[in-house]
């Protein structure tokens, strides 16, 4: 009878893990646009903070000095420029978000998947109507002053 002795060859495996570079998102346009999309929310946050400061000032009772300071701050050119950039950033964020929404909202009608444009049209419609309402409210507010 032969006895087979099995010799295990030492493994030559040495898996190499490639390092993650800090600028990975600049290597591909898709990733860069994603980073711009995500960072556009910083401008929205900034504007929300500005509004919050205004509301806090408005709520400080009879003393209007805080509110006047806030109005002057909002009317200053650096703040105006930042807010105009912010407006475009938020519009871009909205555009990219509406483009992605059909993936997160799958509509099936009579067992058939509906094209993504259905969701997009509904979103743009809702944006249009809420914008109209907001503008109408702002206009009536201004008229009553």
């Amino acid at each position: 009878m032969f006895e087979v002795t099995k010799k295990e060859a030492p493994s030559k495996r040495k898996p190499f893990n490639r390092p993650v570079e800090a600028n990975w998102w600049t290597r591909k346009k898709f990733y860069t646009m994603y980073m711009i999309r995500e960072s556009s929310v910083l401008f929205a946050m900034l504007f929300a903070l500005e509004l919050l400061a205004g509301m806090i000032c408005a709520a400080t009772g009879n003393d209007t000095s805080c509110l006047i300071k806030w109005i002057n701050f909002m009317a200053s050119w650096p703040v105006k420029i930042v807010n105009v950039i912010g407006l475009f950033a938020v519009l871009y964020h909205t555009y990219t978000w509406f483009n992605l929404m059909p993936k997160a909202q799958r509509l099936m009608v009579k067992g058939e998947p509906m094209p993504g444009s259905f969701v997009k049209v509904a979103l743009y419609g809702a944006l249009f109507i809420t914008s109209l309402v907001a503008i109408a409210l702002a206009a009536t507010g201004l008229l009553s002053i």
Binding site: R13, R18, A104
Partner: protein
Amino acid sequence: MADKMNMEILRYRPEQDEKPWVQKFEVPFTHETSLLEALCYIKDNLDGSLSFRWSCRMAICGSCGMMVNGTPRLACKTFLRDYAGEVMRIEPLANFPIERDLVVDLSDFIEKLERIKPYIIPKEEKKDDEEYLQTPTQLEKYHQFSGCINCGLCYAACPQYKLNKEFIGPAVIALAYRYNLDSRDAGMKQRLELLNQESGVWSCTFVGYCSQVCPKGVDPASAIQLSKIHSTTDYIISKITPGAD
């Protein structure tokens, strides 16, 4: 008359190399030459030591995924004619450890795939002669997500997986979603245990590149967002019905 393609291929031989390096080749090609054929040409004629994985040559086995000029692609579904006049830079699939040359270690993906139970878990076993029936409408619900060939391209495209290897990843969630939607399946509760975790659906920030690179037209980004709805619903139900199993 064949044109010539300049190719740069990332090489890594674990027994000799400390880190990967680039080797250049000049490969003749015609209108029909695929990248896989070009690699076979190199192995047969220029350097027999080049390692890469392949099998079916028709985009169904999912073996030949690699980075082509920084984009995850199947070598058999990539044609040199589309890169005429450029240099083709071929690297192993990103975000996975390099085993040798263009071969990567996909064990992490395979292990995660097993964990979500990518098979039908019926509510009750039927007898041998009984069938699990399904209507075309029920099939349509998940059909889009059933085309996955486990090639791993979506993992190479995912920045979240790049930064956090705990993330269960696009293909695995797409398959979990596919079985969760299947009318014959009753295993959603078991799969949600994994999907509900931070390393499950909630690690995804909807970059969306996974769906762009999928060679089979599956939409993992969509499956993940829709699984977030499953996960949220499960959370709310667990809150309003405490103690329920």
